[in-house]
Symmetry: C2
Subunit: 476 residues, 2 copies
């Protein structure tokens, strides 16, 4: 194929040799080579089409012609840095301001969600003159050193918890310390932050930063829980301790949740964070991210007298792309689509749940939906292997790309490009139904092999053949 | 003008309102609005052309059609993330590998020089299991929290020096502790690093990281000094202390120094750092950066078992742009141009120095050249105000953009797009000659106003008119 410059084996061999192995491949045992994409579809080197439920970054659809056109037109004209005056940066900031509460009116453009969160830390530390940070358990805020320190998801596996980092429990009403039966889990979880602040104060320390535990961690990491609660309460506690409230909207912003442009707006029109960070979908794949904050916080940062310059941040091309993304979200009513298709997907999954014991929980908002698998519905035992097996079957049998997530990788996650259709949702659910049915049937039929089954799907087909059951239709 | 969407006053007002003021404008008292650029030229909203001696990022020339074409073609096809297998990332890594010593054979793609330096810190800390870092005075490694900690240029103005950061003197043979008269300043400066390591060890600490004090800080920050010396010695000391040697080539790489593709290669073919970071010119303005390291260091990082994923890093569009930049450097012999034009520029400036007492020093390599102004040649007193005045005159009278740098902002810095021509160099030097002549003549003629003159150029024209001298031709 003309689109392929190397044979796949050669690409793979060069990748192993030249690219740091810490960067992992999807489907590492049999990676997919994608050479072309359009909308919600990926195409491999042989022309095979995959339905993409993974690429939240390619928000308005892969290779949207409007975005390419806007990028190329601006690249032909000018792509200098933001120390020169230019219309695009101010027009784009103005467009973003229109989506946010009035208080969030000052913008800093950067190149990645990680750069945005690092800057948010600097801004809030400068403003509050406090050092400590409260984050929510399992949160991930980025790959930079400063962010690994505040990401329990990473620091538990690496350097460990710093003395200035405090972890509040994940407000998870499925498995957390306050569950669905609790009279007011929202308030109860908010109170854990209050208690944590008191504990921090008792050590003579002061909190400056709290990452949004509800609109951020909860909706973003849909693997973890699904009820967003008393963010108002949390922000009140944090502010009265002299801290600021940061909403990390790197994954959840730009209409992903459907009803609102930003996930924090799910808390009601009257709720406003002090800092909002944004990234992934912002440039539809182009490296573009941003921090929005209040005039007071920006002023404190300016008053330190030190310049903040980001070489590529806010350049005319990035801003032109950012504006084109906003145009497409509006013109193609992608938020409306996220509401409709997301609701349909959740409905279909809910119906599936009545027929499959393995489905423990369904959660999410808009086109950010998770399906948690459990081996025991009462004990909520994470079905990690089975989730991996579903991902593998979806790819191999149906050319559907999904990924898993969550503390136990037991959640099948849907965060497709926002042009994902009703038919796409129906197809995915139908395919999952087939896979789970085969799995269930097998589990019943080949009871003695059940333990093998849940520890990996690789030998499954052989097992069926071995036992001479007529299950191959289900398995393959 | 069609290229202008807002009137300049409106752009400026919106910028003040919407963009964090920590991001400063060039010529802040009368900013330039650039709407179009090509090669080494910038054009403002009225069509006025400026010669650009600032934009090292736009390495192969502003809006090079080859780069735009490569970007648009790949954007139309695919821009997914690096968890999918793709030819561009491996082909690009292979191209970069060909420019580097064989040992530097593993690559990590990121979005900015800052992200690259942060990752270099993580890699080296993981590999050495040591905590401490040696950096060179006045160095700047980026805007992230982790990098401000290791950038004396920034931390002196902000949080101060961390106990794990150690600052070696700048190997500056113009103003430093060992100057031109010293028998072997290179070895003497290398020994300061040796001494520093001993001091660190005596505290029971261990160094893991040393940023290249010669090819990096020295050539890059040409404002500081101009003789690169015993990097071999430094790297030997650092390695024998169990540390690694990092060459920050974010500013100096990709042929900027002319004779070599990388500035560290000025140390000889047998010198090889353990980690090289690259950024600014890599994507000709597109957010693209990279870390190259050895197989051993990469393996130690992989062995920590934690994934490193960078959402945009190494995507097919970034890599296509990166390869197009390499193509243009080769095809247009931009390194050859940097050698020829850079040498010519330095020659012309050297001739100027014989006629202008204010020129204290000329330094640099290839198309990275600095001109230091001093008010007293013996005392080497930095002529900060005068340097600012030269920058202002060059812009206002001749539409030439240069910037100042150095600890006292006393160095006029040239780091133009690499297509900068002989004629451009001649024009710049001729204009500086005129400005310095006017300045000198004025200083002599209006001796009593000298102090006013060096504290700012704004009132200069009026002064001349006031004293009725016929200097307006020189001043304006």
């Amino acid at each position: 194929m003309a689109l392929e410059k190397l044979r796949k084996e050669e690409t793979l061999a060069m990748r192993k040799r030249l690219i740091g192995q810490s960067l992992r491949l999807f489907y590492s045992e049999d990676p997919v080579k994608i050479v072309r994409a359009r909308g919600q579809y990926l195409f491999d080197e042989s022309g095979k089409r995959y339905l993409d439920c993974i690429s939240n970054v390619h928000h308005v659809g892969h290779c949207h012609p409007r975005i390419t056109k806007a990028a190329a037109a601006q690249m032909e004209l000018l792509n200098t840095n933001s120390r020169f005056l230019h219309d695009n940066i101010v027009l784009y900031a103005d467009r973003l301001a229109a989506t946010l509460p009035e208080r969030l009116c000052v913008f800093y453009f950067v190149n990645s969600g990680s750069e945005a969160n690092d800057l948010a830390l600097r801004l809030s530390r400068q403003y509050t003159q406090h050092e400590d940070v409260i984050v929510i358990d399992h949160a991930y805020h980025g790959h930079l050193m400063s962010l690994i320190d505040i990401s329990p998801y990473k620091f538990r596996k690496l350097a460990g918890q710093k003395e200035w980092v405090h972890v509040a429990p994940l407000p998870d009403t499925y498995r957390g310390i306050y569950q669905e039966g609790h009279p007011n889990p929202g308030q109860a979880y908010a109170d854990t932050v209050k208690d944590l602040i008191e504990e921090v104060h008792s050590k003579g320390r002061k909190v400056h930063f709290n990452t949004d535990p509800y609109s951020f961690t909860k909706i973003c990491d849909i693997q973890n829980s699904h009820r967003y609660t008393e963010t108002h309460g949390v922000s009140r506690y944090v502010r009265s301790a002299g801290g600021v409230f940061v909403a990390d909207e790197v994954q959840t912003g730009f209409g992903r949740v459907g009803n609102h442009f930003w996930a924090f707006q799910l808390q009601g029109e009257d709720f406003c964070p002090d800092i909002v960070t944004m990234g992934k979908p912002m440039g539809n794949g182009h490296p573009l991210a941003c921090v929005a904050t209040t005039a007071e916080i920006a002023r404190a940062f300016t008053d330190n007298g030190v310049e903040y310059f980001n070489t590529f941040g806010g350049n005319p091309v990035s801003c032109a792309i950012g504006m084109a993304v906003l145009d497409v979200i509006e013109e193609e009513d992608l938020r409306g689509n996220a509401i409709r298709v997301g609701a349909h997907l959740k409905d279909l999954l809910a119906k599936l749940q009545t027929r499959h014991e393995i489905i423990g929980d369904i959660r999410g908002v808009g086109l950010f939906v998770g399906l948690e698998l459990v081996t025991d519905k009462e004990k909520k035992t994470p079905a990690t292997e089975r989730a991996a097996w579903v991902v593998k079957r979806l790819k191999e049998e149906h050319q559907i790309c999904v990924s898993t997530d969550g503390p136990w990788e037991s959640v099948v996650k849907f965060k497709p490009p926002m042009c994902f259709s009703m038919e796409d949702a129906e197809l995915v659910v139908q395919c999952i139904d087939g896979i789970l049915t085969a799995s269930f049937y097998l589990a019943e039929h080949v009871a003695s092999f059940y333990s093998t089954l849940i520890t990996g799907g690789d030998s499954l087909f052989e097992l069926c053949v071995t036992c001479n059951s007529s299950l191959s239709g289900h398995c393959v």
